[in-house]
């Protein structure tokens, strides 16, 4: 069996520019001003002087090598910033590696986002053609599969409606339907299943499973361990730009979860990314009364999660989301800052933080991970900090801790009046 993907000693370097009080982009104005200033300094004779901009090298990938056999389905996992997206971007030829090489045998389709190139003003029908072409389908191919795509998306009645009038669910269904009908030999998929309702997600997973059974090679990035273990036979765990573990799905997902848990941090900070106008800068967790957490938390103790973000421009209608997942990656709790009127919104610009309290008793003993998102209607998520922190809940009295289920609310039982016949 030949290998479909060979990645050899792949590395990618980014240059980060740190500029005091500057936005994301280089402006000619600044470059000119800088040039004049340094010229002035040289003329005056103060030497080269200190530069207000400093460059910093950042290796997103450092020497990654692996082989994927034809027909193999490989999951790629890792924490935020481990280099997953960079790897996919290089394999999809969106960006070039700094060193190393990748060999791909067969037609590649990469799906780094659902609905790339969808235009809100165009109708569903027009967007199917447009998106299909963007993903690399020919006109004839799209026409042939058109009915199938529409069927899959279940949006037949709205084909001639501009997609800006679609509900977000319909939008995602249509977008995924186009992507699902690609027939490449190698399919590269990034976290696209994190959208849409549960039923549709199942359908998508099914479709991808089928793609694998048809002998396609699949490279799949996800944070949902459930999806990874269902879909893939093998997984690669990336950490800090290098391969940490490469092996069968079970051992790798376990390694990932163990690593996530052993971290045991109560606060996750992210360095500000100038290219993101709206970014989550940190997530932290403490007890409801403000005291720090060390070790497991009692079932009766409330937890407070703080989500901090930096908005360079206002985010109209902005909101934050907190998701609590169990070890298998299944959602246990999903809370949206818009759930109550007048609660925290992330509309203004600047550094904003909001805290959400998880009441107690609520969660059953066990380990959980926390993810935070910020988003805006109608496009949804603008930044995510997935599996940022983990915490453990335990029942100190231990009476009920072995029971199944995620909800630990003691319920009231009332004896009904006995009736005798």
């Amino acid at each position: 069996m030949t290998s479909a993907i060979s990645v050899d000693n792949l590395a990618k370097k980014y240059l980060l520019t740190h500029q005091a009080g500057q936005g994301s982009y280089l402006a000619l104005r600044d470059v000119l001003a800088e040039g004049v200033k340094s010229f002035g300094r040289r003329v005056i004779g103060k030497g080269s002087g200190d530069r207000s901009r400093s460059m910093e090298e950042f290796w997103a990938l450092k020497g990654v090598s692996f082989e994927v056999k034809q027909g193999e389905r490989v999951g790629i996992i890792g924490r935020n910033g481990a280099g997953k997206s960079t790897l996919l971007k290089i394999i999809s030829r969106i960006t070039e590696p700094t060193t190393g090489s990748v060999r791909l045998r067969g037609r590649v389709a990469s799906l780094l986002e659902v609905g790339t190139g969808f235009h809100p003003e165009l109708t569903g029908r027009e967007n199917i053609y447009l998106n299909g072409a963007i993903l690399g389908m020919g006109r004839g191919e799209i026409r042939r599969k058109f009915d199938e795509i529409v069927d899959f998306a279940e949006t037949e009645r709205f084909l001639d409606t501009p997609v800006k009038r679609y509900s977000s669910g319909m939008y995602v269904r249509l977008a995924f339907a186009v992507a699902a009908h690609l027939e490449p030999e190698i399919l590269v998929v990034d976290e696209v299943l994190a959208v849409g309702d549960a039923q549709f997600q199942q359908k998508c997973l099914g479709k991808m499973e089928q793609a694998g059974k048809e002998g396609r090679t699949v490279l799949f990035v996800s944070h949902q361990m459930g999806a990874i273990s269902r879909l893939c036979g093998r997984a690669i765990l990336l950490g800090e730009g290098a391969i940490a573990v490469d092996g069968d799905v079970e051992s790798v997902t376990k390694a990932y979860l163990d690593a996530a848990l052993s971290a045991g941090a109560t606060s996750a900070e992210r360095c500000p990314d100038p290219d993101k106008p709206h970014q989550i800068t940190g997530v932290s967790i403490c007890k409801g009364d403000g005291t720090a957490i060390s070790g497991p938390v009692g079932v009766d103790e409330q937890l407070a999660v703080q989500v901090r973000c930096r908005l360079q421009t206002p985010l109209p209608g902005g909101y934050a989301v907190l998701a609590v997942k169990d070890l298998k990656g299944e959602y246990v709790l999903f809370s949206d800052s818009r759930d109550h009127d007048g609660s925290a919104t992330y509309a203004g610009a600047g550094e904003i933080s909001a805290t959400v309290t998880i009441p107690a008793p609520l969660l059953a003993p066990g380990r959980y991970s926390i993810s935070a998102y910020i988003g805006r209607p109608p496009t949804g998520t603008v930044d995510a900090c997935i599996d940022a922190l983990t915490f453990e809940v335990e029942d100190l009295h231990g009476v009920r801790s072995s029971r199944p289920g995620h909800i630990y609310l003691p319920l009231q039982w009332q004896q009904d009046a006995p009736s005798w016949r």
Partner: protein
């Protein structure tokens, strides 16, 4: 069975299959142009009307200011016809340059998510401006019919000069598109350039009013060659073309285009990282 294509990704290896890929992605180019045309005429309620009103209004102003007030010569051709014959290439140049220059930024979401030869995006932007050009042509036909002005066979050479306008706007557009990605304030340069160019190009007047000894130097503005070519093809002998000047403009256009493509190709690799 389908043949196994092997793709090798290595630093600096984008070059190799580039032109072949460009051909392979020709359908995407058509789709992007089609999208922009659809969106354009859907979004603005007065979509088509807009591309009619703008050149007509400019023509009116120029006719009044240069023709009636300044009493500049029009070589025996109705002044509005003379102005409009130049508005045709100028509007096309200005539109497609502006669209081309902002095309990469406008399609940033595509650049960071999908691979395709990036040249497709600015090329699509230029193609969209051709639609406006076609509408303008129809208006010119109307104006000429109104003045009972019949062009001769020379008009068959018009596509040649259109090609020259296309090359000029595409070449400059490529420069600006690439620079725009790197230096975001370049978008303020383009409208300025376009506005400025309208006055230093012979749109509102005939290039014959430029003193003889400066005439050749005037062709260093490549649009002078394009506009004179248009007037010659549409209006005939009354607007003779200075062939040496036309050659100069033509060579300049080629140089700009070649330079634009080279610069664009050099910058292309980093677009996805910067945009």
């Amino acid at each position: 069975m389908n043949e196994q294509r092997e793709i090798v990704i290595r630093p600096g290896m984008g070059e190799l299959n580039y032109w072949r890929d460009l051909w392979r992605y020709r359908e995407l180019f058509l789709f992007l142009a089609w999208r922009d045309i659809l969106v354009r005429y859907k979004q603005t309620a007065i979509g088509i009307a807009w591309s009619v009103i703008r050149p007509l209004a400019t023509m009116l102003v120029f006719t009044v200011v240069f023709g009636k007030l300044a009493k500049l010569p029009s070589n025996g051709v109705p002044y509005p016809v003379m102005v409009y014959a130049a508005m045709l290439p100028w509007q096309f140049f200005a539109n497609s340059l502006a669209e081309c220059a902002s095309s990469l930024i406008d399609n940033a979401n595509l650049l960071t998510k999908v691979y395709f030869p990036r040249l497709i995006v600015p090329a699509g932007a230029v193609a969209v401006s051709l639609v406006d050009f076609a509408i303008s042509c129809a208006i010119l036909a109307g104006i000429m019919a109104w003045y009972r002005f019949v062009p001769d066979l020379r008009i068959l050479l018009l596509p040649l000069f259109l090609l020259m306008a296309l090359a000029a706007s595409f070449g400059m557009g490529l420069w600006f598109a690439a620079l725009n990605v790197k230096y975001r304030d370049f978008r303020y340069v383009v409208p300025f350039l376009v506005q400025f160019g309208l006055y230093i190009s012979p749109v509102g007047f005939s290039s014959s009013i430029v003193p003889e000894k400066w005439r050749l130097a005037y062709f260093l503005n490549p649009m002078v060659g394009v506009i004179d070519g248009f007037r010659w093809a549409i209006l005939g002998d009354r607007f003779p073309v200075q062939w040496s000047g036309l050659m100069l403009s033509g060579l300049l256009v080629l140089a700009i285009l070649a330079g634009g493509v080279l610069y664009f190709r050099r910058m292309e690799r980093t677009f996805a990282d910067v945009v």
